[in-house]
Each structure stands twice: as C-alpha cells, then as structure tokens.
Symmetry: C2
Subunit: 549 residues, 2 copies
C-alpha cells in the first residue's frame, strides 16, 4: 500500500499517524505546502498576544519527529499541483528548488484545509495588511505589534477576529472590529452574542457592525481604512478575518465533485467521487449531524476525527463519519460563548418547527463565593422535546454545560431526559439542580403544557393587546422594567388577582423566569390566560442594544 | 388534597414547592424537626472554614419565605412522632412547647434524611466531640475553631471528612484524619484516591488509614484520642464523620417496609409499601441506575429530583425515578475527585465482567498556559464497550469530563460513541481530541482488539514471566521505572526488534500509554505477543504508596 496524504496539519497529520498504527508495512507520504506540519492553528492569536510566549509551543510535532516515530515520508515546502487519477499519480512541486516530480499512489487522502478569503478591494496587498493562517503569518503580525503598533483594525468579527481582538488589546493596542453583518460571531443566534458585545465594549474595543472595509491606503504614519459608511480610520495594521473557503483547486482540477459552497464531496466513509481518493478536514463538505443538511464547518475536532476515519477506510475498515454537530467555543477576556447543534436561524432557514427556552443560572451554588453568571438557550422539537441545539454565554462553566448538551444531542435525548440528568454536585462545581437540569425543567414544562412560555420576539408583536405583568419586587421594577409593564410581586399575586382581567392575555415576567413560572401556575389555576416570558427580564435585555442598557 | 411532608430540607422542600406549583388548592404542611428549612448542607464545612463567611448564605430559603411565596404551612421545631396509617393521621410534637397534636393527611411524603452514625466508644459525648449535620452543629464547631483550637482529629475520611480537613487546615489547625478502611473516599476505587492522598500530605494533613478511634478522654488541655493501633493523640476537638444512616424510625414504627441497610423501600414512583405514603431523599433505598441493584446513596441532586417526582405522583402524575447513578464530586485544595456509575469494586462484588482503561491527559491544550493534569478511569463491558462507570481525579476540568460521561452512561453509550463525541474546543477549554475522545480511542482499541491492554494488578501477577518493556526515553527511564523493566525507546524499537523474544509475553509501557500504544502496534504487526500497560507509568504510580514516590 502506498498512501499519499496531501496536507500535514489537523486532518492530514491524524490520517498519517492513524495509517501507520494500522500498517507498519505501508509506504506513507505526507506532502505539506508550508514549512511546518501539525502546528497549533488555534494557538496563533495567543502567540501574538504573548499569552503563549514561546513560538516553539505552537509546533505540536515536527516533520523530523514524525519521520522518526511514525516512519512517515514527510515532505514539507512541497505542493501537490495535480492529480492524474487515471494513472493514480500526483505531481509534486518542491518549493525549495522549483522542481516538479511525480509519485504514484494506491490511495490518496486530501487534507489541504481552508484558506482565508482574500477580499479584493483597493489596498489589501499593502504592507501592514495581514491574514492569519500560518506560523509565518503569525510571525509577521507579531513583529508589527512588537515594533510598537498602536492601533489595529480587524475586519470580520468571527471566532478568529474576536480572539485577535482580545490578544491585541492584551498587547496594548486600540482595536477596531468591523463586521459586515449586524451581529458578531455569525454562527450564533444574535441575542446570545449580546454579553460578548458588552465585554468588547468594556475592554474598549470599538465595534462597527453592519459595515465593511472598502479600501485601504498608505499614509505617512501607517494605514488608513475607509469603511462603507464613508468613515475613515488611521491604523498601524489591518487583519482580514472575513472567513475561509475550502482549498478545493486540486480536487476540482482533478474532476472530483464539490458542493455548492466549494467543499469536496465525500460519502460517510469520507470517500470522494473517486473511490481511491479520500478527503478530510476543512476542505470537505459533510452533513450536519442534527439536520442532515450538507454543511461546511471548519473545526479542529471534526478535522482530527475525519483524518482518523479516512485512514481507517484506506485500510479497509468501514468506519463512518456521523456528521458535524458544530460544537464550538470562543474565549474572550475570561468570558466564553459556546454552541452545539442547530441554531434558531438555521431552523428558520430549514423551516423546521421548534421551541426554545432561556435560563440565566450561576455556574455553581450561589452560596459559595465566586459564582459566575451565564445565559443558556435550548432549542428542541415542540412535541417530543427532542434536543436540537444549545448555546451558552457567560463566565466559568459554559463549556461544561454545552459539552453535556452536545452529548445529549448525540444521544437523541429530550428535555425530559435533562430533568433526570445526575451530574456532579459540590458547591464549587455546580448546583444540586444543575443548569442542565433547569433547562430540562423549563423545557419539559413547555412540552407538557404546565408552563406555557413566550419568546421575547413574539411578545413584541402582541404587546399592545397583552397585559405585561412584572412579578418582581417594586425595587427591581424601579431599577428597570419592560416598557408598558405593570408590577404585582409574585408574593402578593394571590391577594391581588382581581386587578387582572381574565379575558385578556397576560405575559408574566420576572428576572430570570423562575418567579414568573410560579406566577404563571397561580394564574393558570385561577383561570387566567397566561404565558411566562422565557428567561424573564434577562432574556429581554439580550435583545436590547448594549449601549442602551 | 391535604399533603403532609415530613422534612424541610432537600427532598422535602423540593416536594413542597413542586406540590404547590401543581396545585394552588392543596393544603400543604411541611413539618421540620430542626429550626431551619432548606439550608445548604453541602456548604456547612465551608462556613467553618470561613470560605463562606456569612452564615445567612447557608439559608437557601426560610420558613417565612416559603409561607409567603408558596403558601406552605411550614412548622419548624416540630417532629412527627408517629403515623397512624389506618386513620391517615400523624402525631406531631411541638418541640418548643412539648405539646403533641394530630393532623390527618390524604397523602404523606417522608423526607427525614439521614443522620450521622454515632459511634458508641467511650468519650463520644464529651464536650469538644462533634458531628456535623445541621446549622447548629456548624455553629458549635465553628465556635471552638474561632476560640483558637490548634488541633483537630476527624474520624472518617469520606466526602465530609475531607471537606472538613480542608477547611480546618484553612483555619490554621493541625488536622489528623483517621479512617478505618485502607483507603480514603470509600465510594472510589482505591488507586484513584492516590493523588488526593498526596494532596493531603502536601497540605500537612496527617492520615491514619486502617485505624479507628477507640476512646476519647478529657485532659487538662483538651481531649486525647486513643486509636486502635494503641497510639494516642492530643487534640482540641474531634469530629465524627463515619457515615450516615437513613432516618427510618418513623417509617419502621409505622410498619413501612425497609431494605437491608435500613432505607425506606419505594417503587419507581417513590411510593412506599403504603400507597398513600411516598418517600424521598437520603432516607430511601433506590435502585442503582447501571446495575439495577438496591442501593442507598445520600446525595443532594437525587434527593431534589426525588422530591419533585414524589410530588408529581401525589397529584396523579406517573413520573418515574430512573435510579441513582452515584455521580459525585469532592473538591479539596483546588483538586477534585469525581465519579459516576459503577466502580471496579462494585463490579467485582457483582461478579460482572468488565474492562477498564486509564488516561492521564491535561485539562486543555498543552500549548496554552495553565494546563492541569488529571487521571481518568473508564470501565465498560468487554464485548460491546457499553459504559459502566468512570472516575476522575486532578485539577481543573475533572467535573466536566465526569459530567459528560455521566450523560453518556445515562444514554447507554459505548466507548465507540466516545470516539465520535464532538465537544467544545478552544485551547483554553479542551483539546481537539478531548480527554473524553481519548478514553474512547483507548477503550475502543481494547474492544476492537487493535490495542490489547493490561491492568497493572494483572502485570503484577505475571511479571516474572513477561518482559516488561519501557519505551520511554533513557532520561525518563533513569528518573524512575517499574522494577525489572528493560528500556527500548519507541523511536528505536523498529531497529531493535531482534532484542526481543517472540515466544515471550511482552508488557509495554510508557508515561501515559500513548507511545506504548504505538509500540504495541509495531510489535503486534511483527508477530510479537504484546500488551500495553493501560495509562502507563502514571497508572503504575497510582498503585504505589504515596510516601514511596
């Protein structure tokens, strides 16, 4: 068996080492265009920020180590320029010498990754304008920062854009983040990004939403960026992080099928349209675990799994890829935003029926010092309560809850199952009723009909007709409430029922939904038409612009 | 409906509030023997340690608040002394006045909890000898500490014993921990407690294993405890934490069935042998989620769930309790030990066939600063790989992995499923191959036969015949190895195969198992008889006495 693997980072490196474990006899070539194999892409922004001061830490392994330990024929600075599928041969250009030569293969694994989208406006090729993909890119950006850059403009407020913003703030730069869309962190539902917007503002990051960079020009002191609003900003450097596209040129040139967004098409065994060619990592189109839709999700975890599965199949094992769930997290100034499964916007696009609930718990028992706040959103099927997706934002413990929910989604569990979850509890780690149990209680209450709830968007649509009833204390009400609301504290509600009209729809809310739930139960049992605002006033705030809060 | 609930803490309080949400009309009495309802049991040691300085924080709610918000008829300092099942009436003693009166019920929920086992040796009733169950107990212990106690002896090294040890060290006391068994933390497998023993020693806690306290006497300066070894120790105070037993006197007196260890017997609806009487919390016997065995597990999470489920059934809802999984965690000086499902010792007792693997990963990507070490043990069915139990010990992130595994066990998942888990990854939060995935890889390798592994105990039994092959570097080998091992680094193994005998069993090991896995694959493919020591040298160390390391 002669196996050639194109690409030596996540998917490629996983495929190569797995292949060697499966066969001591196979001839395994790993062809990598760049100078480094298996480097820590996800660590690059943190090296710029000097949170990871040693560059060497980013080299997860080296070509030399892979040769020694795995007897891989690793060829760096070598580019596969074409595939001759009929002859089962690839043409490889040695980037050091410029020479091109051929290698035949029995099986080929393509793991070329994805490349940052390079916009085409004027000035993108000026010195001081960067993309971030490789260690070399990292070195170039870091050098400018080390030399005392004062201002940075980051174009694109996705995962990498935010991580760069944090790290540049950490290095003392004034950072402007420009995003074409009306929200940061595109994969999330917009309201769940509100606490992260607040954090960015607290840290002094200027955020320009709904705007694009239109041109960059060199000035005496550095660069000047012009935005679609007509505004201009001086800056020391610009980093473009507007997304990635699959590296599919090699595949398309060879006539392999690609999807509508350019990803290399593979079956569940990660086999391309040529049975002797497999593909893995950011360059492929996979199916969404939950919806079954074709999707392209550039994530390190799936890339590693895919590399392993591709190697399995090369050696005749029928391993299957289950699809990508889209579990992802970003950390930012000690906060985190994490997600798994389908978002509300994906469900709206798919026209699937769904319900959602919000909770705003502390990450551990409130009586133990240091409890940090988080907001969780859970999306599920209306009748069965089957879990479809979850998102979380807050401080400590967000990753834990999203991981737990990721497994629950993989297992096909329902909100009812979440009620019964038995999770670790000691006051430093959680609550006797963990946030995951709380999501179960609130979701199951909705599914069972015990706890009718309304989403804030829908309240907005019917607010003129409904009574908006704030059941918090007068003090809380006085500190801020939803416009138009009346106030009857839940503890007085039973004695003041006659103030409410049984023929009118009532929307109850409290701070996080818990007192609202009791109020809803009281009113329901007394014959009122009532729904509880899911997640209460805190959910309402997620929908308000940060500046106005 | 007139519902009487006996007990006002976790199970009782959950049952009462759930009952009110289900029915505004019901008459609900909550009878609590102590002065406080719904206090934070799990926080008591931390108040003594002044990590939770305000006593008021331990009062999760008050009788007054429950009356106001839930219209509960809360009667504290009131003890239900007997049940007349024929008349459906209970006799209640008012502990403030001594008067006794009767109340009838339609349904009764028993949630009296468990009480610390009070040993009977000489001196247990001396001043300065305490148990810890209530807020009053907490006040009494804290007062002695506040008055400048210098030394404490804690009898029993279970969860509460360890939490007390941490908190008393925190207050500057010299602490001796005495445990009858040969290990601390009885619910865990012994080897998984080794890192916690090491932590206790680092913090100066004196640990006396395999010993009991035999008598206590008063001295001029305080107390003196005599141990079974004949040794004596002076101390300022003694806290007895040798376990709890279900408060079943009321139930047994009323003729309700109890199990062999005294827990009140209930069906899956938490109904006792009297269909009008339900029971919840630490006083009941439940079934183990994984094995189906009858069990008694005093944990806050299950108690809360049981309270809710009992109330559901009181009001005609057929909610079922799924059984107790035994998910538990203890924090200690920044370390954690956590478990879920069946332990190896439970499986040995049950005579179930099982396999186990160990890994020793970092809690997040090693290249990001601050990665903390942990050890994980996973137990599963030999053929199917179905998960049976997991234990973890280490720093940050142990709780997350055990929670994820708890859900996987609930879902009936296998080690193969763990390979495919898609969990949150950014370098601050995890690894592209999360520890949970790693458990899957290692476990699935065992199930599939790709990666034959051996447990350390078994190596010990056959070591005289097998070659013990250390595949780490000479430096690592020189820093400490398993007695009798020979050293061939994995990177040289292919060139030195002729040094090994094909007719002899080889046990390979490295530091954590990963290089050993590759070495095993190399040797297998060259026709050697080989197994890898699961978890490598670090697992071996778990089995060595702490002092000898």
């Amino acid at each position: 068996m002669k196996l050639i693997i194109v690409g030596g980072v996540a998917g490629g490196a996983s495929a190569a080492t797995r292949a060697r474990r499966l066969s001591e006899q196979a001839e395994i070539l790993m062809i990598e265009r760049g100078p480094d194999v298996s480097f820590a892409n996800c660590g690059l922004p943190y090296h710029i920020g000097e949170i990871i001061p040693e560059r060497s830490k980013l080299l997860v392994t080296t070509a030399e180590k892979l040769r020694e330990r795995f007897r891989l024929d690793v060829r760096t600075l070598s580019e596969v320029v074409s595939i001759d599928r009929a002859r089962k041969s690839v043409s490889i250009r040695d980037l050091k010498t410029g020479n091109t030569y051929n290698e035949t293969y029995d099986k080929l694994v393509l793991a070329p990754g994805a490349s940052p989208i390079q916009p085409s406006f004027a000035g993108v090729d000026l010195p001081g304008v960067f993309i971030l993909r490789t260690l070399d890119d990292t070195d170039r950006i870091k050098k400018v920062v080390d030399q005392g850059a004062k201002r940075a403009i980051i174009v694109g407020a996705g995962f990498i854009g935010l991580e760069l913003a944090e790290n540049l703030v950490h290095r003392g730069l004034a950072v402007t983040l420009v995003e074409l869309s009306k929200q940061i962190l595109g994969p999330f539902d917009a309201e769940m990004t509100t606490p992260i917007v607040a954090t960015l503002q607290e840290k002094g990051v200027e955020l320009l939403l709904g705007q694009s960079a239109e041109s960059i020009k060199a000035t005496n002191s550095g660069l000047q960026v012009r935005f679609s609003s007509g505004e201009e900003r001086d800056t020391s450097l610009v980093i473009l992080g507007i997304g990635v596209r699959p590296e599919n040129q090699l595949a398309t040139k060879a006539g392999l099928e690609t999807g509508s967004r350019g990803g290399i098409k593979v079956n569940e065994h990660l086999q391309t349209s040529d049975p002797d060619i497999y593909a893995a990592g950011d360059a492929i189109e996979t199916s969404d675990f939950t919806s079954g839709e074709r999707t392209q999700v550039p994530l390190a975890g799936p890339a590693n799994r895919q590399g392993r599965i591709a190697a399995d199949n090369v050696f005749g094992r029928q391993s299957k890829y289950r699809g990508t769930q889209g579990t992802a997290i970003v950390g930012l100034f000690g906060k985190a935003a994490a997600m798994t499964g389908l978002t509300e916007k994906a469900l709206l696009r798919l026209k699937w029926d769904y319900r959602k609930v919000y909770i705003h718990p502390a990450h551990h028992a409130g009586y133990y010092p240091g409890a940090e706040a988080m907001s969780l959103k859970l999306i599920f099927e209306p009748k069965t309560g089957k879990l479809l997706g979850a998102q979380g934002v807050g401080g400590e413990g967000v990753d834990k809850r999203i991981d737990v929910l990721a497994v629950a989604i993989q297992a096909g569990m329902t909100v009812i199952d979440l009620e019964e979850m038995e999770l670790c509890y000691a006051p430093q780690f959680g609550s006797a009723k963990d946030p995951v149990n709380m999501l179960g209680f609130v979701g199951a209450g909705l599914v069972r009909g015990d706890h009718p709830q309304i989403a804030w968007e829908t309240v907005g649509q019917t607010a003129s007709k409904a009574i908006l009833l704030d059941v918090r204390t007068p003090t809380e009400f006085g500190n801020g409430h939803i416009p138009g609301a009346i106030n009857i504290p839940v503890d007085n509600l039973r004695d003041r029922l006659d103030e409410l009209n049984k023929n009118q729809q009532i929307v109850v809310y409290c701070q996080v939904g818990q007192r609202g739930y009791l109020a809803t139960r009281i009113l329901l049992q007394h014959g009122y038409q009532v729904v509880n605002l899911s997640g209460g006033y805190k959910t309402y705030l997620l929908y308000q612009p940060v500046a106005s809060r």
